[in-house]
């Protein structure tokens, strides 16, 4: 509890809890049942553990890894009761998340001290890219920063209108060349706009695309390069948005988007639903890319900073 308070305001924790409630009660109940009256970790307990992790979309590989670690720990430490097993589990998952040596943010900070910071947002269709941009812009705006949103999705019906509405909600600048224009040009000119107008940060939206579409992935690389052409070293952040309801395909997404654009950060959306977001653990395990944000609702303030300890705690604490 006290841990949370350090990181989240009260409402924030409630949001996260609401989303994770189901996971939590499931997990804790099952685990308690599985270990009730037993003094050692037997096969049955581990099987149950496996089921729990799998059902959270953690994935086979990572689940096996976690279970092997637990077996190792148990063989060494000999646990006695549920709460101890619970503690071991939690610390193993946290350590798995921490192995990529990424430190959680403490607040919504820009990826660079250079001005303007350019953030390009990518991901498959419908995961929440545009919404996340709106929410993130809101956070920067609240800090008094000058923000511009670049309408780089020129393909999906009404994509530009959607981003414009977000810009109005946030009260920030907006740059668009309209629908069906070259997204690389939009990205370039948004960067130019940010430089000319003294913006602190530009957030550039891109059209959703499935990672197996080679040409669309090439287009993404081109968009990124055009930003760099305008401002050397930019974009300073390539944010890959993942939907927490997605299963193992999220790992493929991370692979291909990283190949195309050198993703530097992840956002995990829709954690306010029943999906457990276990995919985050798997991805964090396999990629050296930090999960920076989590989306916990559709409204403007429903974006939080990802915190490993808090995330795992809220999965396990009753």
């Amino acid at each position: 509890m006290s841990f949370f308070n350090k990181f989240f305001s009260k409402e924030k924790k409630e949001d996260l809890d609401k989303g994770l409630e189901k996971t939590k009660s499931n997990f804790f109940n099952k685990l308690t049942k599985a270990v009730a009256g037993k003094s050692t970790v037997d096969e049955e307990v581990l099987d149950e553990l496996e089921n729990i992790l799998i059902s959270s979309d953690v994935g086979l590989e990572t689940t096996v890894k976690i279970i092997e670690r637990i077996e190792g720990r148990v063989a060494k430490d000999k646990y006695l009761n549920t709460s101890e097993l619970n503690g071991i589990l939690r610390s193993e998952i946290v350590s798995l998340l921490a192995e990529n040596n990424t430190i959680d943010l403490e607040e919504f900070t820009l990826p660079t001290t250079e001005k303007p910071a350019i953030i390009m947002v990518v991901g498959v269709n419908g995961v929440g890219k545009t919404t996340t941009i709106g929410k993130l812009a809101h956070q920067y705006k609240k800090q008094g920063k000058k923000v511009v949103l670049g309408a780089g999705d020129t393909f999906r019906a009404a994509a530009v209108d959607q981003l414009k509405i977000w810009a109005d909600r946030v009260g920030c600048d907006f740059y668009s060349k309209g629908m069906h224009t070259d997204p690389a040009a939009v990205a370039y000119e948004t960067t130019e706009y940010a430089i000319k107008n003294g913006c602190d940060v530009a957030l550039i939206d891109t059209a959703g695309r499935l990672h197996n579409k080679i040409n669309l992935m090439k287009e993404l690389t081109k968009i990124k390069n055009s930003i760099d052409k305008k401002l050397g070293g930019a974009p300073h952040e390539v944010l890959l948005v993942l939907d927490a309801t997605t299963g193992q395909n999220a790992i493929e997404q991370a692979t291909h988007f990283t190949n195309a654009t050198d993703v530097t950060a992840l956002a995990l959306t829709k954690l306010d639903g029943t999906a457990k977001g276990g995919v985050a653990i798997g991805i964090s395990d396999q990629f050296k890319i930090p999960i920076k944000y989590i989306g916990v609702g559709e409204s403007i303030d429903k974006l939080q900073i990802f915190n490993k300890q808090a995330f795992v705690d809220s999965l396990f604490e009753a």
């Binding site: 059902s55 393909f155 019906a157 209108d161 080679i214 395909n249 829709k270």
Partner: protein
């Protein structure tokens, strides 16, 4: 990253090979592997367990025929049959009887409802000669109404919106009234995305349904959904008792285990699959394809479609002519390699072909396999590229030097090229084989053009 599922299965079945009988003991590994394969394909873990229990039962009951069939093959067949059986059932069309017929669309955020609404309108007007009206009942998402309006225009369907009205029940009812007085015979009601745990929003959709009494209610699911598919499908079914399911984004590379999870959980038929962002990328559901896809046993259909996207007709026709005259040259070959490259990672393409995953597993096939060939061709003069006959020994030696490969490799490549050329030429002479030049020529269906 993931082992291909068919590899897993093949691995599991290997343990059965050479044994003449399926027993509790020798089936255990296979069953476990099948279960793992299903889970890796995002089939809900509980369903995967129940499914494999059933498979096991069937396999054990089949001892008698085992003399004729290898146990491994039998297992594959049992798994496939069972999957197809579970996902299929009788083909269920969409109910569009009514004046007007009303179709209600529901699902999670971003699952593809609005896009599907547009596609369905297109489908009904082009394939069923209907006059559909789209009704915009998403009063929450920014620009949701604009989005549906754009799509309606694209497909030439009617659109009914009330930008100032925040009451979806009212909008839906008035939309139906509008359809009645304007001669529309199908009304498609697009609704906002909602979470199954959002009580208020679930009540809203239940109210909409109760008010408009749709002929058909469709639940839209993203095919990339993981273990949660079960919860969501169940929760929506409890509230709106939908008639069918729509699977979206199947143009991706997800295994799509959610299809099995949803069907198994609620027993409602999967009526449509959505496979792209364009309005004509809607298809009916084929359980066999889906079963193969879930099991990673190759998806020849996707392969064909991917090929179709990349090869253009003009080029195919041009090549066909050249092949007929036996004039296929190194430039054409380079072009073909380029086309293949555009289709994506070679290994993943090969894996779409049934049975290929086993063969490609240990082969180090990546796109760089082409590099060698390309560097040989690039070391030729433009004249040589256009006239393969020119290549004599001294030219070959120069090419070898130019690309840093030895003469043997050059010879081998040129020989292979010659053989290929001859074969292609022969094929064009065979009756009925006129269009063999490049996949584009034979696979043209005019469906799914690249955006």
């Amino acid at each position: 990253m993931f082992d291909s599922l068919s590899e897993r299965l093949e691995g599991a079945f290997k343990t059965l090979k050479g044994e003449s009988k399926i027993t509790e003991i020798n089936i255990a590994t296979s069953i476990k592997e099948i279960r793992r394969a299903l889970v890796a394909a995002d089939v809900n873990y509980k369903i995967a367990k129940e499914f494999t229990d059933k498979v096991k039962e069937k396999a054990l009951g089949q001892e008698n025929v085992l003399k004729a069939v290898k146990p491994g093959e039998l297992m594959v067949k049992i798994v496939m049959d069972e999957l197809v059986d579970l996902m299929g059932g009788q083909a269920a069309g969409i109910n569009i009887k009514g004046e007007p017929a009303v179709v209600l669309i529901a699902g999670l955020q971003g699952s593809g409802k609005t896009t599907f609404s547009g596609k369905l309108a297109h489908f009904l007007s082009t394939k069923r000669k209907k006059k559909p009206l789209l009704v915009a009942c998403d009063v929450y998402r920014p620009a949701a109404i604009d989005q549906l309006t754009v799509l309606a225009k694209q497909v030439g369907a009617g659109i009914y919106t009330e930008p100032e009205n925040k009451n979806p029940v009212e909008i839906a009812l008035k939309g139906i009234g509008h359809a009645q007085s304007n001669g529309y015979d199908v009304v498609i009601v697009d609704t906002a995305g909602r979470l199954s745990v959002d009580e208020q929003m679930m009540t809203e959709i239940a109210n909409v349904k109760e008010a408009i009494l749709p002929n058909e209610t469709l639940f839209v699911v993203d095919s990339m959904t993981g273990q949660d598919a079960v919860n969501t499908a169940k929760a929506f079914n409890e509230r709106i008792n939908y008639d069918g399911v729509v699977l979206t984004k199947l143009d991706g590379d997800t295994r799509g285990g959610a299809a099995l999870s949803v069907k198994y959980t609620v027993g409602k038929p999967i009526k449509f699959v959505s496979m792209g962002e364009k309005m004509d990328t809607l298809d009916i559901f084929y359980p066999e394809r889906m079963a193969q896809r879930i099991l990673g046993m190759g998806d020849i259909v996707s392969f064909v479609e991917r090929a179709q996207e990349q090869f253009d007709d003009e080029e195919a026709k041009r090549l066909e002519k050249k092949i007929k005259k036996n004039k296929f040259d190194f430039n054409d070959f380079l072009g073909q390699i380029g086309q293949l490259r555009k289709m994506g990672d070679l290994k993943s393409l090969m894996n779409m072909i049934p049975g290929m995953s086993k063969m490609t597993k240990d082969l180090n096939i990546d796109n760089s396999a082409f590099n060698k060939v390309e560097s040989i061709i690039q070391s030729m003069t433009p004249q040589e590229r256009g006239n393969p006959e020119l290549l004599n020994l001294s030219r070959k030696k120069r090419i070898a030097l130019g690309c840093g490969q030895n003469l043997d490799e050059i010879n081998r490549f040129i020989k292979q090229f010659d053989q290929m050329r001859k074969m292609m030429h022969k094929m064009t002479k065979m009756p009925g084989m006129g269009g063999m030049a490049g996949p584009g020529a034979t696979m043209k269906r005019g469906f799914r053009k690249r955006r």
